[in-house]
Symmetry: C2
Subunit: 313 residues, 2 copies
């Protein structure tokens, strides 16, 4: 059992299971007392209250529950300690499942077949094989590369776009603002796995969707957003669907979550909605590697999955 | 250009594109005159009229359009010449796409999410990862093994069942009537890719569906039939769904096709219907290897993808 105490600080999130699992190896404290506890060396956070970490003199590491860390940088009083992104193999597996599922449902025309079934219509539309379709993945880190590998194994052509140059076997990679238009123009099905930063906020807008390749064997372009809700402008997505810039969309994330009942996305016939469920952050899988990182840190080992403060992810 | 003429004999099927593509290399004839043409050495068939091939004295090979050949054995006057199953790499790719798509849609609870969306409900049900789920593939030939490989790559556990013993890396294989119950009991999502033979007709019935493992992380068992329609008893599937033996079904094939408007499958909320479209038999991909087999045969080479008359597939 390590000595450093763990503070859990979160909003819009029930910490019960995290508390239970972390408590097996560490003393866990909560707000408000825990927020002033000098024995706290680790903070496990999800959308913590700004300033909530500013009165911990011995804080060593902040752990972010979930792959996205934009919620952490929303705090102007964020202490200057390392931030570790909690990523289990399991999270990558969930995200890969989600991406392949949504790509296949668009590629194999699931929406059209469900509409036909409702009308009792027996009709087989032309179906291109996977290797006639280019899936473009925006955000080409651990999650993007794993999804690319699974899509390549099914025969899809895969493009990848990232801020800085990256390469992956069998993937046609693009990078930076200069590479974006070429990436979009070569992409039939766009998959967003981008982190949310000042540079990516609202990037999925009407203009971007208009640059996708819709002159393809599926007769249109498609959007899948499993990154962050504020990457997209929902009103632009609805307009792009209605104007035919894109044919269908699968959205797992939204500007406001839960998605308000009044959102036109719920009832749009060409939109598939899931409740930020693409890659669940199951504590059963995430707590053990988090505890292992605390132990390793206390042995003087190097931290893994560190967040780059300057890049914001 | 080879000398042997090609007869196309089919029902429920428009041979126009096949005729066009075969004609680039061979003289193609049709019924009724072609059915008595002594220059015909090859027959390309799909549900041909019984007896339609019996007056071709120089017939050398029968080619079956599509992987299933039960339609050929329905002819009591079938000439005793080799039967070649036309299988393109492409057909395997299409079937793998279909199987992975349907497995993921059941695994990731697509039906539940679509129902929630219609009610504007934001709710994330528990989601097991792929490696908590066992997919069982009945019919473990070329198509079954390719689907197994793709499912393994996504993390699913895979069981395979076939008439005679077969093995595949990473797959738990079962065989024969003696192995069937153990296979079903270890399977959460059943995928049927069986050929239709006297031994498999009607095999997917109420008793079989009741043997699947429904005490699993998805809270029920699932059926995917992409083999042949007469493998299943539709009334039993509906009863198994309504009694909770299985939770959902994806059906691409039916006892009668097109599926009659009166079938209860169309409107069943737990059934997904596609119109025998899992693996399209696109002549653009199938004609070139068929022509290559004719040329190879005339050079004295061995035929590939031969049907075993005794086994019936």
């Amino acid at each position: 059992m390590g000595n450093g105490r763990v503070l859990i600080s979160c909003q819009e999130f029930n910490p019960r299971r995290w508390h239970q699992l972390l408590s097996r190896s560490r003393t866990v404290v909560l707000e408000p007392d825990g927020a002033r506890d000098p024995s706290v060396e680790y903070a496990v956070v999800w959308k913590h209250r700004p300033g909530a970490l500013s009165k911990l003199p011995n804080l060593k590491i902040i752990f972010s529950v979930g792959a996205g860390v934009d919620h952490i940088f929303a705090d102007p009083d964020l202490p200057d300690v390392p931030i570790v992104r909690v990523v289990a193999d399991n999270l990558t597996q969930y995200m890969t499942e989600y991406v392949v599922w949504r790509v296949l449902d668009h590629h194999r025309q699931g929406m059209a077949y469900r509409a036909q079934q409702a009308r009792r219509t027996w009709h087989e539309p032309p179906q291109p094989p996977a290797d006639a379709i280019h899936v473009g993945i925006m955000g080409f880190g651990t999650l993007g590369r794993a999804a690319a590998k699974a899509l390549l194994a099914l025969g899809f052509k895969v493009n990848g776009w990232s801020r800085s140059p990256r390469s992956a076997e069998g993937v046609n990679t693009f990078h930076g603002a200069d590479g974006l238009d070429a990436f979009l123009g070569a992409t039939d099905i766009l998959v967003s796995l981008l982190p949310l930063t000042p540079a990516t906020r609202g990037i999925i807008d009407y203009a971007l969707l208009g640059k996708l390749n819709r002159d393809n064997a599926l007769g249109g372009a498609f959007l899948i957003n499993a990154g962050r809700g504020r990457l997209q402008k929902s009103a632009d997505i609805v307009r792009a669907l209605d104007d035919g810039l894109i044919k269908e969309a699968s959205l797992d994330v939204f500007e406001t979550e839960p998605l308000p009942k009044t959102s036109p996305l719920w009832a749009h016939p060409k939109v598939f909605v899931t409740p930020h469920a693409a890659a669940t952050s199951d504590p059963v899988h995430l707590v053990p590697p988090m505890l292992a990182q605390m132990d390793a840190f206390e042995r003087g080992e190097t931290l893994r999955n560190l967040v780059d403060r300057e890049a914001g992810y």
